[in-house]
């Protein structure tokens, strides 16, 4: 094989991969756009609704295949009511306006929320408030998926540490070891000192959990394309974990700093400020991750929407170039936000367990 053919085959492969990802990236949006505006000459394409639908949670998973009308994977709806659990498939209420008569109530999907419907077919807001929706939504499925991926990957890596004991890392292990060492040497140790060992599992789990979900969110088609780390419920939960860990591990210096200001007579200002500080740190974590990831998704989807807003194929090269550029930036952001969340968590924990001499 001459060098020319190698180059050609390499170029071809790169081109093919780019083309695959680019076109695949377009499919869900194209089909969705087509569904949203089946007759573009009559109805106007609603970019805002499309983007919001894509970045928020839903009770079904839109799956797109080339040249096939968009399909929705039905997902289980699980409702916890005061009378008991109610479980049914989401395709019962998927159709616009369809009402499902369950064992305990009748339900209807309204703006992506499951609402209780009374006998007359009207939404009963009072009853709806008492129902706790713990459905397996699209984001919950993606949560499961990312956890399965993480477990498989790290069990495999862990076993290769066992089988290749004392040897140089290899394969997946050598790809992930620098990241693990990065979390340990550049995040945990500088911020937490010699007591970092206890918090390493938490930091590593948070780092890789955020990273895998950021990256999966960038894959534009099934099983990626979700927006888990750009969902405020997820980021808030992660931050709540940090809030708990920080305050449960806070030593007497940490609490003294909060409740005994120096000089003491400033307590009427300092105590409220410090207490707000306890809350504001995890809130900042929540907002930062949520806003960064969501903003990235919104930007990419907006650039794609440009094609449908202007309703011409000729704008697509511009969109594609910008989307590729944004994807590159999002890749950076995926790592950066995982790093930042972990770093700040380590910093907050470190501040709470710091010994003063």
């Amino acid at each position: 094989m001459t060098s020319g053919t190698i180059l050609n085959s390499k170029l071809f492969r790169i081109f093919f991969i780019c083309a695959f990802f680019l076109t695949a990236g377009l499919f869900p949006k194209v089909t969705f756009a087509a569904e949203n505006g089946p007759d573009t000459s009559k109805t106007k394409f609603d970019a805002k609704a499309m983007i919001l639908e894509h970045i928020s949670d839903s009770h079904s998973w839109p799956v797109a295949f080339p040249f096939v009308k968009e399909k929705f994977l039905p997902l289980p709806v699980i409702l916890y009511t005061e009378k008991g659990l109610e479980v049914f498939s989401s395709d019962k209420i998927q159709e616009e306006g369809s009402v499902y008569a369950g064992k305990l109530h009748s339900y209807k999907l309204e703006a992506n929320h499951v609402k209780v419907v009374d006998a007359s077919g009207k939404v009963d807001e009072e009853a709806s408030k008492k129902v706790w929706d713990i459905s397996i939504t699209r984001n919950v499925i993606s949560l499961f998926l990312s956890i399965v991926i993480l477990l498989i990957v790290f069990f495999k890596v862990s076993s290769s540490y066992r089988t290749r004991e004392g040897k140089a890392p290899k394969g997946l292990q050598s790809f992930l070891e620098p990241l693990i060492l990065f979390v340990r040497d550049d995040i945990a140790i500088p911020n937490m000192g010699h007591k970092y060992g206890r918090f390493m599992p938490l930091l590593l789990t948070i780092f890789f959990f955020i990273l895998i979900n950021n990256l999966m969110g960038m894959i534009p088609f099934f099983p990626g394309g979700y927006n888990l780390t750009g969902n405020i419920a997820v980021t808030a939960t992660l931050s709540a974990v940090i809030l708990l860990v920080v305050n449960l591990n806070g030593n007497k210096h940490y609490w003294k700093h909060i409740f005994v200001p120096n000089p003491w007579w400033l307590f009427f200002i300092m105590i409220p400020v410090e207490v707000v500080g306890i809350i504001s740190k995890p809130v900042a974590l929540t907002i930062r991750l949520f806003a960064n990831i969501t903003a990235g998704h919104i930007l990419i989807l907006s650039l794609i929407s440009l094609i449908f807003i202007l309703n011409t194929i000729w704008v697509s090269p511009v969109s594609v170039v910008f989307v590729v550029f944004m994807d590159a930036i999002e890749l950076l952001v995926a790592f950066l936000q995982a790093y930042l969340f972990t770093l700040l968590s380590a910093l907050f924990i470190g501040m709470a367990i710091e010994e003063h001499h």
């Binding site: 919950v140 599992p201 789990t205 405020i232 939960t237």
Partner: protein, 164 residues
């Protein structure tokens, strides 16, 4: 507002799943991974320090060798020097003894020669005396072969005697 309102379902599932993930990874992944990483780091550290120690040992040995070599060289030089001195001494002594021995021999030879010379001289003297006597005898015999001469001599002698 929809975007920033956390849904209770997702909070519930995230808490549950994250808890399980944290437990499983912590127990079965992070613990062994971190343990073997730190173990490997320790073994690398100890290997490095061992290498350092070996290097130091090596340097020490080289130094020692050098020292030994230097010492050996100095010793060799010393030995050579001593040997040379001994050789010189031996040669000198030999020369001296040869000289004295030679002079002794010469002295003895001289004495011998003197002795021999004296003996020879004495011999020669004896011979000369004998020869002289013989010659004198022969001369006398010749002289006195003739009776007249004998008579003349006697007469001569007697004359002397008369005078007295």
């Amino acid at each position: 507002m929809e975007l920033v309102t956390p849904s209770i379902g997702l909070v519930f599932w995230t808490t549950l799943c994250f808890g399980i993930l944290l437990f499983l990874l912590g127990k079965f992944a992070w613990k062994p991974i971190l343990a073997s990483i730190s173990e490997r780091e320790k073994s690398i550290e100890s290997a490095l320090s061992l290498a350092e120690a070996a290097k130091e040992e090596m340097a020490r040995l080289t130094n020692e060798n050098e020292q030994l070599l230097k010492q050996a060289r100095a010793e060799r030089d010393q030995i050579l020097k001593e040997a040379k001195q001994i050789k010189d001494n031996i040669i000198n002594e030999a020369k001296e003894s040869a000289q004295t021995e030679g002079s002794k021999i010469i002295e003895r030879a001289r004495i011998e020669i003197d002795n021999q010379k004296a003996i020879a001289m004495a011999d020669v003297k004896n011979q000369v005396a004998t020869l002289s006597l013989e010659i004198a005898e022969k001369v006398l015999r010749k002289q006195f072969e003739d009776q007249q001469k004998q008579d003349a001599l006697i007469a001569d002698l007697l004359k002397d005697v008369k005078l007295k």
